[in-house]
Structure formats: structure tokens, C-alpha cells
Subunit: 329 residues, 2 copies
């Protein structure tokens, strides 16, 4: 009988979930469509309908100790998901919805925070008590670990590095602001940079043959590898803006490392070194040469499950410690 | 017999110190010249030469429980002051130097962190577990409280909001970088803004009659109160840049409040409302309308002593709690 937790990674399109041991091993996993247009309760009915199957996949049997959830706009403090951008759920009490199905400890946090926790427990930041995980995906998210704990802030929404202003008066962001880091350093931001450069440059570029929809991160990466001057410069510009933003973040947090994660890291070889260079150039002197910039060590396909599991394993251990303390006293 | 701590506020010109009760009451205080050109050991010899006098000032007698120090570039983690900008001390082990004189618990931190702790225990942020204190003085410093604790980061130097880039490629900063918030939002930054505006504007302004040295914060404030268009615009520009930077800080920390402190707050009536407005305008939507911008409640003359005392009182209480826990166990 294995002790596991259920880690749930809710995305706008798909939801991944798995049974995860205390050492980060995934003993069983599945994926369902999120059906973002249906109510949250219907989603959890479907999800928990699969849990018995999932348990059946493990030959020696499992005991589920708790449930961790990573989801967009999930608030660790309140247990609510608050009007998530890609789900038509409105504001829902996720913890309550889950506990209707299984009466176990539940902890939730947003997806970027969950991946930071996964990295902290099982990934590239193992043993680091001060680091910033940046997810460079469709958007830009961040999870910030200080003294070994996630920073949540007063209302649970701290760590929104994607919405720090990278360029004053810059690109329109979906959040309503202008110039957010997300509009430059996400995969979609990279595409916008390609369009900007195609407007500025006259050099030949195969990227002119692609429509907006066709211009994926992979295509831009491929073009850069083949020496396309527009694609190359786009990565350079992205790295500059991201490195500058990281230097500012360093002034606030004095981290040991930045861990970079997400779709953009498919082009890690074009991003890591220039980002580090631009960060160094803009660092407050006392931090120069002290901060690592490293790629995530988590598998992109399971990082969300692992992160959600890390969250609840952490909570369970805290509870155990607290109750041990009480017994001793 | 009163229980007190010794709070020491080391500045480039003067050092203030006082005996402070657990409720923040200062029972005796003094000030000496720092003589920044002499070695640190000579400074502490002089300082501790005064301590008996200071104790004598309290009629019922005192028991000193510990010593807190706020000083530029003081590192809480190491107990060292590391090449402070306005002192020719190099890097010195302050804790060791002090314990040569009195063998008591010593805690040190930089001056901006100390004032944040003072505000947290005794001032405008009493009862707030998430806030950012910004000192708008000759430079710009900050102390950041998250979950009721100062953020120190990996190397003890976190919370350098003064050296976040406010204007990309902007004004030269003493730190070597360009465009640091400090070069705009400090009192010296305000003076630089006056010069910038005098170069741009043709309106009549009494500020043209002043030399660089004469153009103090007070003079600029006075001019603005009398309707000087250059001085008025300078405060407006300062408030805009500071408000924008605060909006970014909010995205990282989700604070309950910003507490503003320091010489610039002599002109609080010209700063507070516009800063708040510019912050609101630039906030990530989820934070809008949630974050207070308030003036420090500490007296400028004693805030440094109070802050240093708050630091060591906090440490002493932590130790007491820990030892109580052990006894119970």
C-alpha cells in the first residue's frame, strides 16, 4: 500500500492529474478535457469519476493522503478560484467542491506557484530557499520562494511578475495594462516581437510567409536555428527585456537563482545565456555574479501534477510536525 | 528597574542612540558625530563611553536586554557592515565590535529595514503583516514585510527598491546603474527633476535664482506651495514615477499598504494623493482599490532608534518563545 497524494493541474483545455509519492514519483496519471464552458461542479463530477480507475492502475494499492490543485487564479488563502481567464466558472470554492467527493485535506494555488513548489521539492531548485520560478508560456507567470516558502502577499495574489511593467506605455496586455512583461516574454509576446521586427526590418525572412496563427514558438525557434535574421533578433530582444526585468526582481528579492520554465524554454539554447547577460548588466552591483539562471528540471508534461502534489505534501508535513510538537508538549 | 534595549541608528554624519522599552517608549537618548573618516573601532569606543551616562539619565535604573543597530549596508545574516557608502570603515564585523563592549545579544540590519520594523511594531503599519516601507530621503531605501517578517533574500540584501530601474536608460545613479528609482524619487532626485524641468520650461520660476547646493527639498516644497510652476510640476513628475514603481512592487508582493517615510514627506500633501493615483492607474487589476498609501507615523528624529530597537526586541521575543517551547516539550 503506497501513500500518495492526488495532484491536479487544471488548464483551460486539459486537466492532468496523478497519484504522487512523497519523493515525487508519479505512480498513476490521467488527463481529461476541462470543458471550460461547463460548470465547475460538472467538471469535478467527471474528474472524481476517474479516481477509482486511477487507483486501480496501481497494483499494490494506494492510500490517498491529500489533494493538491494548481489552477489559474486559484487563491491559496481562500480556497477559491476567482474568475479564471480561460474557464467560465466565475468564482468557485474549489476546496468545498472537492471535499464533496473526498473528505481529505485540500490545498490550492495558482499554476505558476505550483510549478515553483515542484521545482523547490523535486526539481532544479531543490535545496534553494530563495529563488524565482518564471513560467514563459502562453503568458508569463511566476512563483517566488523566500525563506523556503511561497510569497502570497496580503490577498494571496503576490508573485505576478508577468504583469510588472517591462516597457512603460508599451504593448496592450490582456489584463488591461500596457507594457506588461507578459506581452514581451511569453511565447505570444515573441510572436508580437516578430511582427514588430517585420515592420522594422527589410531583411529576407521566411516568417513573412506565415499567418499569425501559424507563427508558433516552434516555428520561430526553427527559423532562428536556420539563421533567419528576424527570428534571431526576436530572441535577442526577448532576452533583453526579460533579463532587465529579472535584474529588477533581484533588487527586490535577492534570489539565489531564477529558474526558467515553459514553452519558451524549447529554445533554451537561444534564451538562457543572453538572458543571464542582460540580467547581469542591469543588476545592482551587490548582486552581480551571485545569481544563477537555470532551466527547469521538471518534465513539462508532468510539472503541473508534480507541483500540485508538492503543495499538498508540504501542507501535510507541516500538519504532522505541528501535531508532533503538541504530542511532545 | 526598567527593561530596555539599546537602539543605535548609525548615519554618515550623526549617530543617534537610545534606551527603548518594549512598548516603543524612549527613556533616554543621545547623539554623537559619527566621524565617518575614523575607524569603526574608535567609533564604538566613543559610543560605549556614553552608555553609562545614558543609563544614568533614567532615574529608576535600567537593565539592557540587547542591542539593535540600523546602519547603511548592514547585513542581518552576517552581522557585518559591508563597505557602507558614507563611512570609510570598509567591511567590519559590527556584532563582534559591539560585544567587545557589552556581552549581550546584538542584531543589525540596514537603516531602511530598521524603519520598516519600527513602523511594523510601533508605527503606521502596526498589525499589518504585508507592507512596504519606502524611505524617500537623500536616497531611496525600502524595507519589505511579508507574513510579518522582513524579506532578506539569499544574501541579506533584498529590498533594494531604490535601485529598481524606474526609467530605462535614465539618470546616472551612484550605484553605477542608470535610471534607478533613487535618481528620481529621492530628495536629490527631486532636485535633478527641477534641473530637468528648468531645461524644458520657459515659465518664470524663483528656482532659477538658486544654486545646486541651495536647492534643498524644503526650498522646492516652499516654491510649490507658493505656486511655482516648475516646483509643482517636479512634484507631479516625482509622484508619477514613484507611483508607477509602486504598482510594479505591488505585482510582486501584494502588500496591504505602502508606508512613505523620509525627507520627501515634508511635502506629504503634494506627494501622497498623486502617488496613490499613479499607482492605482498602473496596478494589475486584481490589486486595484485594495492598497493603502500612508505616511509614516514615526517621528523622523527617532525613527532610526525606534527601528533598531524594534529589531532587537523582535529577536529577543523569538528567543524567549523558542526557549519556552523547549521547556514545555
Amino acid at each position: 500500500m503506497k501513500s500518495v497524494v492526488l495532484g491536479i493541474d487544471i488548464g483551460g483545455t486539459n486537466t492532468k492529474f496523478g497519484l504522487v509519492e512523497q519523493n515525487g514519483g508519479i505512480v498513476a496519471r490521467q488527463r481529461i478535457s476541462t470543458h471550460a464552458d461547463q460548470p465547475a461542479s460538472a467538471f469535478f463530477d467527471r474528474l472524481f469519476g476517474k479516481i477509482e480507475d486511477l487507483k486501480g492502475d496501481v497494483s499494490d494499492g494506494v492510500e490517498i493522503k491529500g489533494i493538491g490543485v494548481g489552477a489559474p487564479n486559484a487563491n491559496h488563502h481562500t480556497g477559491m478560484i476567482e474568475t479564471p481567464p480561460n474557464l467560465s466558472w466565475g468564482t468557485v470554492d474549489i476546496v468545498e467542491l472537492i471535499q464533496r467527493h473526498i473528505d481529505l485535506p485540500v490545498a490550492i494555488t495558482n499554476d505558476a506557484n505550483a510549478s515553483a513548489l515542484g521545482e523547490f521539492r523535486f526539481g532544479a531548485a531543490k535545496g534553494m530557499n530563495h529563488f524565482i520560478q518564471i513560467t514563459l508560456g502562453t503568458g508569463v507567470g511566476s512563483g517566488i520562494i523566500e525563506e523556503g516558502k511561497l510569497i502570497y502577499g496580503h490577498d494571496g495574489f503576490a508573485g505576478e511578475m508577468g504583469h510588472v511593467t517591462a516597457v512603460r506605455g508599451g504593448r496592450q496586455c490582456n489584463c488591461g495594462k500596457k507594457g506588461c512583461l507578459e506581452t514581451y516574454a511569453s511565447v505570444n509576446g515573441l510572436r508580437r516581437t516578430i511582427y514588430e521586427l517585420l515592420s522594422e526590418m527589410t531583411e529576407k525572412s521566411g516568417l513573412r510567409d506565415l499567418k499569425w496563427e501559424e507563427m508558433t514558438g516552434d516555428k520561430i525557434h526553427e527559423a532562428a536555428k536556420n539563421g533567419d535574421p528576424v527570428a534571431e533578433r526576436a530572441f535577442g530582444r526577448t532576452a533583453k527585456i526579460l533579463g532587465e526585468a529579472m535584474a529588477d526582481a533581484a533588487a527586490y528579492f535577492s534570489p539565489e537563482a531564477f529558474v526558467l520554465f515553459g514553452g519558451m524554454m524549447g529554445a533554451a539554447e537561444l534564451i538562457l545565456d543572453p538572458v543571464k547577460e542582460h540580467m547581469e548588466e542591469n543588476l545592482f552591483p551587490v548582486f552581480k555574479g551571485k545569481i544563477q539562471v537555470i532551466p527547469s528540471a521538471l518534465d513539462a508534461g508532468s510539472a503541473g501534477i508534480i507541483g500540485a502534489a508538492a503543495l499538498i505534501w508540504g501542507e501535510l508535513e507541516k500538519k504532522e510536525k505541528a501535531s508532533e510538537g503538541k504530542e511532545e508538549a
